[in-house]
């Protein structure tokens, strides 16, 4: 088509290439850090269910459905074969 679109396309692919160049080497480190943080969050939300008194449970109980799907993945990663929760049975 026009020259402008080719230039724009070129810039876009250059940008995408640079972004890949920026992100790829650290993708694993960053996703692992994020997973660790998510794990901590999961433990906080599940605290009451695990028998740990949680002063913020009034608020975190609302978040239970959000972490429920992650419970299975979480407990297997933590080295527990079965879910430690009575309320959530996933396997």
């Amino acid at each position: 088509m026009t020259r402008r679109t080719t230039v724009a396309d070129g810039m876009r692919s250059l940008s995408a290439g640079l972004r890949e160049f920026y992100e790829a080497p650290y993708r694993r480190t960053l996703s692992r850090a994020r997973r660790d943080e998510d794990d901590l969050f999961t433990v906080v939300v599940l605290a009451e269910a695990l028998g740990v008194p949680n002063p913020a449970s009034y608020y975190t109980v609302e978040l239970l459905p959000l972490v429920a799907e992650r419970v299975h993945e979480w407990h297997t990663r933590m080295g527990m074969e079965r879910s430690p929760l009575d309320s959530v049975s996933c396997c």
């Binding site: 940008s15 290439g17 890949e20 790829a24 650290y26 993708r27 694993r28």
Partner: protein, 572 residues
Amino acid sequence: MNSLVLAIIGIAMMLAGYFVYSKYLARRVYRLNSEFRTPAHELQDGVDYVPTNKFVLWGHHFTSVAGAAPIVGPAVAVIWGWLPAFLWVTIGTVFFAGMHDMGSLWASVRNRGQSMGMLSGRYIGARGRNLFLVVIFLLLLMVVAAFATVITNLLIATPTSVIPVWGAIAVAAVIGQMIYRWKMNLLLTTVIGVVALYSLILVGDRFPVVLPESILGMTPATFWIVTLFLYAGVASLLPVWVLLQPRDYINGVQLFIGLGILYLSVLLASPTIVAPAVNQAVPEGTPSIWPLLFVTVACGAISGFHGMVSSGTSAKQLDKETDGRFVGYFGAVGEGLLALGAIIAATAGYQTLADWEAVYSAFNEGGVSAFVNGGGAIVNAGLGLPVGLSATILATMAVLFAATTMDTAVRLQRFVVQEAGEILGVRVPNVAATLVVVVVGVALTFSAGADGSGGLLIWPLFGTTNQLLASLTLAIIAVMLLRKKRNPVLILIPLVFVMVVSVYALVVQLGTFWTDQNWLLLGLDVVILVASLWVALEATIAMQAARKGQFDPETDDPVLAGAGRGDTAASD
């Protein structure tokens, strides 16, 4: 000899290697298959296993493997004259490094992208894996100590680089914020970062920072070494997105700019090489060229470190197996070009032979400083930048490479320490592990004197360990080929050569350390020597077994007598 002619011959040799030899390797030896489902597709997870455009992947691969080492090695080695270094770099790149890098990529791709450590467990045996950990720890330890000295020497020899070198940390930190917090366009960020870095170089050129004789009771060299280790310790503990990631990125961009400046200057100025082709009058105390040349120039000719990059990361992102030729082999060519640039800068950037001999007055004198000053003169002649500014640019470039390697190496070593702690049943917190790494590194750097001259004494030992790692990788590739019943001779010849020179160099250095009464380095030398002989032994056993046994051509697993093909379980 005109340096332009040398550059053209060198580039032509490496390109011929890429267009002819690597094709031969791809077709006959590794038999790369574009139909093969690479781990990036088979195990695609959006994190590690991501099919990546081969040019982007090459960019990563090249910038991860190329750093200060291919500058330091050749710049030290030209003391024997330019011809030996030139031949080892070009022939090494074509027949050793290219083959090794491409091979380790292939080996890993054929094994679900596993790292060389895992592969040594599989093809060499359980002891092979432990051996691998030992060698890697030694390699990281030595690279940290050697680079601390290299950076310190540069900061003292080129005081104009002090401001840009430390300012670059701030630039990187701001870039990290721009990308993750302010979500700015990366192209714009890159331009801003590069402009900021070069502005700092201009500022630094105007305001050199020379430390006083005594600073906090330390000499300038001691002060810089301590500061560098403090920096590396802190940097390695920060979340990677804050500093390490933007720093790596800017350095990657800077590598291309620097190479461009250097080769463009050689093209425009075409200076004459003043150094002798073979130096007959080497300064007193210079070790014999044979075998020391082959361990002084490690990166740029063959380097085991590349195998770690190939197998750990690049292999998981390879879109097609045939891309391995470009990513692996051409990655080695890129590093060879950097080493060639270092040779030219350190031999052609001087007016007369006497000037050059004054710089290379003793072994380990000259080195990177010779690269910076010589390269500065060439850039001055080629691009018309003032000599001081050109030298500042090159010094900043060299320091940034070395510093990035240093902080990454401290980080990786921390993981090794923590892993070792786990084996012993102790949980080592991040800060404690980093402290262990930094203290050991500082001790090694200061082992031969408070000015940190211990750091450069280690250089040949670093080269030897790097070659040792390369031999281990080559042994794995050879075992794989033998299991597939292919001819491994093109791997075996370089393997035997590299093993022989590194063991020979270790023995020669053993004598040197003994006369110098440097017990720490003597101890290290013995450890590396034992590891080398161990590698040779294990590799021979594994190759014999691979040659005699029957293996499944697809999975490389042993076929048991009486069992049909495909009945053997994948045993990883």
